[in-house]
Every structure is written in structure tokens, then in C-alpha cells.
Subunit: 353 residues, 4 copies
């Protein structure tokens, strides 16, 4: 529980703040011989970068990744894969105004309580900036999964209360708002414009689907596949709820309605979301995350200073209106990291395999 | 990721199946000097035992816990606390009929895919029986938390689609169905009777609240307090969704609505559920779990055998109609284990503390 | 670092003190389908039990192991294997005399500094009694290794300064003193008698050899095979030095002397002890431990009480003259646990394997 | 057991090969508020750099460290400390000759067996180059220990069979060969010259001493302080034996000779090396490592190619004659990392502390 590492066998350790030299990480435990290069990681990072649409800030981070070790002649060597993404867009400016004001919805206050000392120039490790390292590490996991025929997709199911139908989930990651339904895009654009004009922000719902997952992944009792997915996804800053398969609605079904019947041709439904008893059952693995609205808003908010004095805050500057769709490749990365870890774990669970 | 252990510093490892000699575990990392005896553990176990009301089976497990180590003269010694709960209600019977039939909603099929070999007499580690060891380990965590002024409550918010108001959450654990609202009890009793008569089952929603949690618990980035709570709670067999604070509904609020304003007298609301940036903020920590209906039902269900032949199954015998309220002390235990781990972790995060 | 668990994938957690109800443990991560029963574990435990020869106490512990989970129809199921060895030889007696006296060479003083509270009736977790759980867990590892054609032998190379030749290392575990050389036995018997008559104790050297270990086990950089072996072996109470292959003497050789030449028929020597760069090279894996004399002696020793007053102590009662040979099966168990963990780890390190 | 990470609470993860862009790492779990800057890390790195005396190669690596995160205004923030040491001395040259030849005493062969694929340009993770990241991470640990009044010293006790007396252990790290005895230096210089002229190499013995260690550090049963020290030190490439306190010689003493008597003024001796029952007792913590001779020698050696054909190898180029004294700051770093981890662990083991 060092806090900044994820996974047991396939393990990602990350570092870096929004206002330091850069963010990066180390992937340890990746098998040798997996095709990998910087372009494969960069492609995922590009899906996370700002300026991806009307919901995003105009801030231009280049987010160029550099692999520092563990890859030779286009393949992994089995040794740790170090990588670095330098921060390039660091304007020097005056932080004296915000230094002592606790921003509502942010980690300023609990971080002070925890560390007694804080880099006041940004959110530090609570900044969304750290997710770049997740995406880079996740890209390594995706490369491993691809070798096994496993693919992961993340797509937006709802933005600011307006739903989309999951029509084309595979293409969604390169569509506006990560939408699987082109007809929804104009509605979402309108919603974003309206919220932005009021200086407010919105949240939404993202679904992640993994296809090609073999039966048998996940470890009883505590390290169930769904438990680790919930852990992975809830660790993303803005996520307030995680569902697996039918999710919350399952609590209102009867056993007869919720049980997925089995037939000689396979399961007749997938309320389980591909997981039974914490172990994958060969169906698509499905999770959903509920994303809160961005807490940094231009609207004036009542708050306090670090010494407890009342204050009023209006957060200016370049802020996204929603964490969606930039959070989508992050969620995809976290699911990929989880599956890669279980895939390697499972390779040793049957005698003689 | 050995699978059957939870926690980093305060760590519980469990073992045991439904049809073996017993279930038990080891708590390692508990500080010395904490008052603890078998009665304290037994009290929690008694809340989990069957026959707790109309939703429960008549099966009478005694579930008597025996402490095997780590306690001397009524206090913990700082060494591992081993404990054992012997299985006493093991009737020998004929398993040949169910041996090869995959029960819908159960782990039979993925366990076979995982292990290639299975104790067909019960759910093995996927059986709810394993949760007795969670509750026993959680009782040790609760003893530690009590020393620090932290209490944890679990109460039923919804059963079979019928909601309850959180009127008296502290007393709920010893009320029928774990209900915080006595007026709801007759409605739930009626719902359970009706479902039982049809041979079906129901799910529900349980909320867990921790009071007295100091600000500063939780480790950025991956080991956020909410991430570990989601991990802990989703690892309970029947849970399909986990929410923190406002949870899923936060995705439909704007930033202006969702942000908890801060005042010199504290936070003005608790949409965050006591966690900001993954670290506790001193408010009540609140989580909700959505529990699926029990998959073992008397209704005839279409399924297959392990060799893929179609089959029809009606699960007879002694089965609960709902995992609620027996799941409530399990959820309480998992939250306690999570908090105990973070509490010990935090003791070393400020220089000079 | 919960302290009482060892291993990452194949993981043993233990509990139990010398003066409590018993010692036991949980093996998590053992693959399914491995032949295992209580007799296999008992055979190893019997090699550790007291009264094994002139160097041992007359105390008769039965040390009967009971498997509590994880085994079905004579094979492992892949779920945690819980086991318990009840303490049967607990005479009630008066501890008031030793309660406050720090025994030289024992953990009494540092345990008080660590925990501030201690079960004064025995060594607690610092008692050799805890090694019974290591041996039982190690027996499970040995069962796994046997499936892969790996065997582990431990034999005494020196006792009280008198060396033995490694003539028959395979049979040694069932010979007096664990000796690989029958001619040495009378010399050791004489040495033990003499030391015993003076109320003193002796140490010695034990070598552990693993044959059939495939090349490729061990993880760079920190989790080298030799590093984990040193960790495993130094964790046994009485061990003060660990050597691999040529060991300490290698520091006095030149590179030309120490390097093991390679030929088309294999290595020409084994100074490396079967490990190069932390990874097994296919040769026999060889480690040696240097065991200190038993600190509990009848000779009068100068010491202090817990309040710092001078005191004189003569430890009466039933104490071994040497930790050898009872330590031999413990060392064997620790090597087996280490190899089992690496064996499972390695199953996933080559893509496509 | 991801392999390239060390520690549980205070945890170092490293990456990097000898022939890639650089080596680096992440320290996670360092408390906030510890004074730290690049100069403090650089000072330790400079003690490890080549060209430190007659035993070293003339190769000039600059080994300049750059802190990438976790430090703000000269103090640690409690978040991960990322660092990078770029490789600057990478001459491009022809590797075709050594590509397929297994170097005796090196990891080439077992790495091929393990990964099936290898960066043939150098030792990869088995290269001594990785130890730069250990030293940098260890410098962070040393900064933490300094806050608690703990210091760590490493000094050479023997080189090529010629011993030194431990006269001035504190100054030794900045003396030729890391010698604690200036009179020994000319003898060692002569020995090195002679060995170098023959194209051979030598090993030696290094002792590490930690002063100011409070009683109570170390976790029974498996994570004993001495066990973790043995793990830490044996993980350094060239180490073949580890001793604690009296070490190997303790096996030839009687209990009466080996036990450290206790007096009202403290222990009368320190055969234990500061550790009893795996827990520090307040005395100096003392360990010794036995270092094998450098395997890369100019002497012609018999070996094989990767396809098993006989070959003859003479390793030219810039190689040290001994791993000493460059290994000394590495050993110091590993002891510091181990102590830092236990120090933080201990902060939570007494109730109310």
C-alpha cells in the first residue's frame, strides 16, 4: 500500500505532479517479447490530452512519452519499463492568492491534514495530471492483452444527464466526447456550451467493456476480478460509483430475473458483467463509472482559508467543463492494468499448465 | 494478490470452505495492547448467523469462534491473531445429482475453468460461508478503531425495491432486516413472504457509515480511501455496485451543486462521502452497496452440465431469500478492515509525528 | 511486510505462540491438483519434533497437524490451505520468577521495546515453536516442487566445531544429527554429552541443496533467487550467516579461480551455487547457514530485569543443547517455500509460454 | 515480488539498463517534511562513480541525478519521489562478437533461459549500472534516518585476502578503497596492481554499521530485521555471503561464549549485531558482506555460445579490478532502505503511540 503503485505481478508505479518537471512511471513484471514502442503509448496518451473537444480546456500539453528502459529492438525484454512525460506547459505565475484558500471539491484540505505541507501550485498527486502515467502504463498492459486477443473499449454513456446509446463502442474512443452514438454529439455540445457559459461544470457516465477475456481470471476471495476492477476504477479522481454488469439495478431484480441462464451455446444474458464468484466466465467484462462534475468552476463558491477564515473563490483559468471524455482512456487503462495482472496470475494456477 | 488476504499493514488472511472442517484466518499487524476477547468477535459473528429473521434460512450454524494466538490477558500482543470457526452443521448427503450441474449465478463454471478441479459439495471459497472469517477479522479491526473513537454502522436502505429512511442507523444492526426504520419492517416481511412463496429471491441496498474518522486517511494515487473501500466492498460475493457519498447521482449534478461548500464551522454538505482526492476530510465516511438477489432459488432454471448438456435445476434445501441482512455485518467488517489499515498507515506520514 | 507471512504468489501466513492453544497457518496461492494429505505434512513435522537424539530435549510434543481447508479427495483445490497444530504439552507452572528477567540471547528486551507488552510465559513469536508452522507450510511447497521434479535436502556440515563430509546428503535427514557422514556421529555425540554436562550449548552449520531446479528462476533486481534465499534462511531464529555456493570464501578467490567455466556438457564447477545474476542456471542450488548456540543454558549468566536491576539467571528445564538437527527441516522448508514462489512466478515471464 | 521494487512502506522501484537512455526510480512512502535536494543524492552517487581509485575503470560516467517529483522548496511532500540518471557514456560499438557468447560468472545464460530474449549490449538489469538507482533511493532513506539520529557507515574490511582494521569507520567512505585503516592502503594498491597486470580480478569483505538505531525495529517472524538485511544485501550482484554480528563464527562458540551479557549499563558485548529475535536491541546494527571477484577478466576463459558451441573469451575494455569500493555505498544504501522501512513500520505498533 505504498499508494502510488498498482498491481501485483504486472505492476505500475507512478510519480509526478502537475507543476514539477514531469510525470512518469515504471511497469514491472511485463513478460518479455511483447511488441512495444513509444508510438503505441503515444496513441493512448493523445486520446487523453486536452483540447479534445468543446468540453476541454485550450491548454496545450504535448505529453510526449519517452521510454527509458525495458524495450529492445521493438520488444519488451522482461525488465522494468521506465517512462517519462515531461511537463512542458509550466507558466510561472503568482500563486500567492490561492496558496491558502481551500478549493471546494478539491483535496487541498485533506492533503494538509495528511502531510502538513503541500505544493500549493496545483493539485499535486490529486491533480488529473497524474492520470497521464496511468494511460502510459495502461498502454503497456494493452499491448500484452492484444497478444492474447483481449481488447478493451471505453465509451461515454451519459453526459450532463443526457444519455447515449451504445451503438458503436469500438469506434467511440476517437469520436467527439467518446460517444458511441453520433446523434448524441450535438445535444452534448449544446449542453457543454450552456454549462460553460454559466461558469459551471458537468459529469457523466462511462462504460468500459473488455472482449476476449478467457474464463478463469480473478482470485477468490478478496481479489475477485470485480473487486479489483472497482478498486482500479474508483482510484480515478472523479469517480463516485462503480457498477459491474447489471450493477445497481440488480438489487431490484429477483433471482429469477437476474440469474443468467446457461445454454449449450453459452449464457443467455450478461447481468453478471462477465464475472461470477469473482472469476471471469468468458463473457464480455463490463463496468460502468459515474463521474462527478469538475470541481474547479468559475462560479463564486463559499469556502475557507487554511486558517479557517471564510473566503469566496472563483476558479479562473483553463479548466475543462467535464472530465469526460479525457477520463475515458484513463478508465480503459485501469481495466487493462487489472486484466493484465490477472492474466499473468492465472498462468500458474493449474498444475501442469 | 494471493487472493485470500486483505490489507497491507493490518492484514487479514482467511481460509475455509462451506463443507470442510471450518473457516478461519490470521490477522497480522494489529498493534499491541488493544482490548480483545472472543466475546467481542462472537458478538459480530452472531449478527451474521443464519436464522436472523424471515429472510434467512433455518439452518443453525453455531459459528463459535476460538482465538488461537496473539491475545494475552485480554489484550493483543502485537503478534498474529489466529482464529478458527469450526463447521458444525455438516450433514452428509448425496451430491451426485448436483456434482456436474452448473448453477446459474454461481461460480461453478468459472471455478472449473480456473482450477480444473472443484469441491462439488458446495460453493467452496465462493460460498457465503467464507464471510464468517471476514466478520471475525473485522471485529479485531473494530476493536482497534474503537480505541481511536471510530465507529462503523451498516444498515439496510432498500430491500426488494422497497426503501427505508435512515432514521436510526446506530441501532439498525440489531433490528429485523438491519432496518434503520421500524415502519419499514412489516412491508419487508410481506415482500419476503411473497417472494419466498414463489421460490424466488430478492436483493437490496446497504449503506455503511463510519463516524469519528480523522482527516488524512487514504493514500494517493491508487490507494485512495474510496478506491480501497470499493475494493473491500465489491469483494463481497453478492455486491454489484459501490457508491461513495452522493455516488451515481453526482454524475447528474453540476459542479456548483455537487461541491461541498466549506464554512468556518465545517462542510455545509457531504456529497463527497467524507473523501476528497482519496483522503478522508474529517466528515462521516459513507458508502453504499447494491446487493444482487440470492442466485440459489427453488424456481426451475435452464442451465447446462459441466460437459455442456442442457439441464434444468431447482435448488432445494435451506437458502436465504436475500443476502440482506446477513451481509450487513460483512460490509461493516470490510469497511473496518480498510479503515484500520489506513489508520496505521497514516501514523507514519508526517515527519516527527 | 505484515511480518508473519512469506512469499508473493505462493504465500504462507503463520500464527501461534509456544504457550497458546496452538500454531498454524494458511498457504495461499498453491495451484490446484497437487497431491497432498496430512501424512505428507506430518512426515516433515516429525523430523522437527523434539527428542530426535542426544542434542534434543526430552519434551514430547505430538505436533499432529490437521488440514482445515483447501484439499479435497487427496488433491489441492487451488484455494487456501489452512492448518492447525495444537499445543498439547502445556504444563501450568509458576512464571513469576522469569516474568521480569531478560534472558541473554533472547528477544525479551527488544520485544518489550517493540510491543510494550509481552506474554512472559515463553518466547512468543520468537520461540522456536513457530517453526512448526514453517515446516508444515514448507511441506506443501515440497509437494508442489515434487510435481516438477525438484527435491530439497538439508544436512549438517558441522556441529560444535566438528565437521562432517557431505557423503550421503539424501539420507541425512533421517540420520542422527542430520549427518551426511555416519563416521561423524560418535564424535558429535561425545561433544554434545560434554557440553550438556557443563550446562552449555553449541551451534553448527547446515547446508541445503535443491536438485532439479530449472534455469530461469529468480527475479532481477531485488528479488534475486539468492537474495530471497538469504531472506528466507536468515529469518530462522538462530541463523547468523548465510552463504550461497562458494560463499564467504569467494571473496578470497580471483575472478579466474571463482568463475565457473562453461562447456558443451555444462558448467565445470559450481562456485555460483546455481545462481548467476540472481537467476537459477540449471545447476544444483546450494546454500549454507551458520547456526548460533542455543541461548538458553543452565550456566549462570549475568543479566538485568525489565526495570534495569542486575540479576543472575540459570535457565533450567527442558532445553536442546543445539538447534541442530531440529533446524534442518526448517531450513529445508524455507528453501522449498522460496523455490515454489519463484516457480509459479516464472510460469508467466515468457510471452506465449 | 515484481522484482525491481524493495520495501513495503518506504518502497523503492527502479528501472534502467547499462545501454539504454538511463537508470532511475521512484521512492514511494517517504514522509513529508524531510529535507532533501539533488546535492544530497549526488553526494552518495559520487561515492559510487567509477574512477574512484586504482581498483576502478577509467570510464567516466557523470551520473548526474535529476529529481522529477515529490520535493518542494527543499523538503519532501509525502508524494512519490521520481528520479532519473541519464546514461551519458554510451559509445556505439560492435556487439556482434559478444552477442552469442555466454560470459562466465555473468547472467547471460540464465537470462536467456528466463526471458528467451536479451539486450546483448550489456548486462541489462544484471549490470552493476542498476546500483546507481539503489544509491539514489538509499540517499532518500538516509535523509529520513538522519532526522531520527540514525547514521549508516560502510567500510572495507578485506580486499584480495588482505585485511584492514576498523580504525576509523566513519571517515572510510571517502578514503581510498573505502578503507578504515590508512596503513592498509599501500598494501591494497600493490595487490590491485599485481592482479590487474595479470588480467585477473579480486573480491573482498565490506562491513556496514548503523548507529543510533532504536530498540524495537524489525517484524517477527519472517520479516526479522536481520532477515531483511540479508535480503537487501544479498540482492547486490556480487555478494555471496551475509553475516550479522558475530556471524559465521557464532556457530563455533558455546552459548556461554556467544550470549551477550546484559548489565545496568547496557550489553557487555555485541555478538548479536544489534538484533535479538529479529528485533533491534538498541546496540549498533552490524552486517558484513562477502564480495566475489569481478567476473569480467582479460584472462582467457573457456565458455560456450548460446547454441552450445565451445568458445574462448577474454573480456577487454574498461572493467574494475574489484567491485570494492564502488559496492560500499550500494551496501550502505540497502541497509538504509531496510531501516527506513522498519522505522516507519514501527511507528504504528504500539497502541496509543
Amino acid at each position: 500500500m505504498s499508494g502510488s503503485a498498482f498491481g501485483t505481478i504486472f505492476r505500475l508505479a507512478t510519480f509526478g505532479e502537475s507543476h514539477g518537471p514531469g510525470v512518469g512511471g515504471v511497469v514491472d513484471g511485463c513478460p518479455s517479447g511483447i511488441p512495444l514502442d513509444e508510438a503505441m503509448i503515444q496513441a493512448e496518451l493523445d486520446r487523453r490530452k486536452p483540447g479534445q473537444g468543446p468540453a476541454s480546456t485550450a491548454r496545450k500539453e504535448k505529453d510526449l512519452v519517452r521510454i527509458l528502459s525495458g524495450v529492445f529492438e521493438g520488444r519488451t525484454t522482461g525488465t522494468p519499463i521506465g517512462f517519462l512525460i515531461e511537463n512542458t506547459d509550466q507558466r510561472s505565475r503568482d500563486y500567492s492568492k490561492i496558496k491558502d484558500i481551500y478549493r471546494p471539491g478539491h483535496a487541498d484540505m485533506p492533503y494538509d491534514a495528511k502531510y502538513g505541507f503541500r505544493d500549493y501550485r496545483g493539485g499535486g498527486r490529486a491533480s488529473g495530471r497524474e492520470t497521464a502515467a496511468r494511460v502510459a502504463g495502461g498502454a503497456v498492459a494493452l499491448a500484452l492483452l492484444a497478444q492474447e486477443g483481449i481488447q478493451v473499449f471505453a465509451y461515454t454513456l451519459e453526459l450532463g444527464g443526457i444519455p447515449a446509446r451504445p451503438l458503436d463502442v469500438e469506434a467511440a474512443q476517437d469520436k467527439p466526447f467518446g460517444s458511441p452514438d453520433v446523434n448524441t454529439v450535438p445535444l452534448w455540445e449544446e449542453r457543454v456550451r450552456e454549462v460553460k457559459s454559466r461558469g459551471d461544470s458537468i459529469g457523466g457516465v462511462v462504460e468500459i467493456k473488455a472482449v476476449g477475456v478467457p474464463a478463469g481470471l480473478g482470485e477468490p476471495v478478496f481479489d475477485k476480478l470485480d473487486a479489483r476492477l472497482a478498486y482500479a476504477l474508483m482510484s480515478i479522481g472523479a469517480v463516485k460509483a462503480v457498477e459491474i454488469g447489471a450493477g445497481a439495478i440488480a438489487s431490484r431484480l429477483t433471482g429469477g430475473e437476474n440469474n443468467d441462464r446457461m445454454t449449450p451455446r453459452g449464457f443467455a444474458s450478461n447481468n453478471a458483467g462477465g464475472v461470477l464468484g469473482g472469476v471471469s466466465n468468458g463473457q464480455e467484462v463490463i463496468a460502468r463509472i459515474h463521474v462527478k462534475p469538475i470541481p474547479s468552476i468559475a462560479l463564486e463558491q463559499q469556502t475557507v482559508t487554511s486558517s479557517g477564515e471564510p473566503a469566496v473563490l472563483s476558479v479562473g483559468g483553463r479548466h475543462d467543463v467535464s472530465a469526460i471524455p479525457r477520463i475515458n482512456p484513463v478508465a480503459k487503462a485501469m481495466v487493462a492494468l487489472t486484466l493484465a495482472d490477472f492474466l499473468l496470475m492465472q498462468r500458474r494456477m493449474q498444475s501442469g499448465s
